[in-house]
């Protein structure tokens, strides 16, 4: 990755558990209400109840992108046997636009973890062309890597993640 080992995506093991190392090439802005999502931001279920505003970069409107939103720490980070949980899947997003212009294959389901602090990852992939994507039969045990292989999406072009825990969580701090 162009950024060194200190890249938040690497330190948090998002690259590793969910994605392969990649270089950012397209801008990705995810905003929940007034809050723009930066890596590692702490968000509670109440703050992510509705789908966020997603704006992507690029230049050529003829390029199409896919957005995948997963939670790799289900049901709990210490025992993620349901890794990954698919929250949202939008395809055919034209460059410089947002998810509202795309095709919502799997509708947005708001994260609401009950145990532990979960990472929620949103990844952007470049499509080779407009393509038909079939929704998986269920949301859990999703595999982003496999999905990208099936649809020839290649490496990610952008990604961002935030941390989500239950509303009354202590924020990972005891005192």
């Amino acid at each position: 990755m162009t950024s060194n080992v200190r890249d938040p995506l690497i330190v948090s093991r998002v690259v590793g558990d969910v994605l392969d190392p990649f270089n950012r090439s397209i801008s990705l802005r995810v905003t929940y209400g007034q809050r723009e999502v930066t890596n590692g931001l702490d968000l509670r279920p109440s703050q992510v109840q509705n789908k966020p505003r997603v704006e992507i970069g690029g230049e050529d409107l003829r390029n199409f992108y896919t957005l995948v939103m997963v939670d790799p720490d289900v049901p709990s980070p210490s025992n993620p046997h349901l890794r990954e949980y698919l929250h949202w899947l939008v395809t055919d997003i034209p460059a410089t636009t947002g998810t509202t212009f795309g095709n919502e294959i799997v509708c947005y389901e708001n994260p609401s973890p009950s145990a532990g602090i979960h990472r929620v990852v949103m990844t952007l992939f470049r499509q080779l062309g407009r393509q038909t994507v079939y929704a998986p039969g269920w949301r859990q045990n999703f595999n982003t890597r496999e999905f990208t292989e099936i649809y020839n999406l290649g490496l990610p072009v952008a990604a961002v993640f935030f941390n989500c825990q239950r509303e009354s969580g202590c924020g990972g701090r005891r005192s």
Binding site: S3, P8, L9, V11, T38, G40, L41, P77, N163
Partner: protein, 229 residues
Amino acid sequence: MLSSAKHNKINHSAFSVSSSSSSSQGQNKSQVTMEEVWKEINLGSLHYHRQVNIGHEPMLKNQNPNNNSIFQDFLNMPLKQQPPLPPSSSSSIVTALYGSPLPIPPPATVLSLNSGVGFKFLDNTDTLVASNPNSFEGSARFGCFGKKRGQDSDGSRGDRRHKRMIKNRESAARSRARKQAYTNELELEIAHLQTENARLERQHEQLKMAEATQHQVKKTLQRSSTAPF
């Protein structure tokens, strides 16, 4: 003879004491020598550092008043208190250790523990010095044996504790990674915002300058061409 034995105890002649005690006929005589040995053990157990400068009689007198500790207490002491010592000093403790069970009937557990490791040292004094590191390892094992013997009853407890510890470690590692990732992200953002801010400020300055010069130009009157009607 006792005093000389006491003096020579640390200099390899410790087993002369033990051998003499082993070959002793009278119970009284062995008990007296045993007391010496026990004192040495207590001394050894509590003044490890000083034992490096062995051979000083005054040191022998700095004994722990608590001479009533039993042999098992010495054995059951935590392993940390048994640091590696130079062979000359360790021999005294070792022989004191292994010499003691002979004259008096030792507790059953101690005897069984000893039998595997200790007796051979007494039989062959030549190998004593050479095998000193092993002796400490053997004595170190005494502390573990207690735990291993009770493994059946609280083995599952130990396992569960171990698993819990591993899980806690992983959780702690995740927590640290989370914190570090967020910190790195903030630092990157700060750097990015600072450069952008600098760029925008420069741009702002340039625009201000451009506007000022334009303003100046406007103030001076200029002659423009007039239509020749």
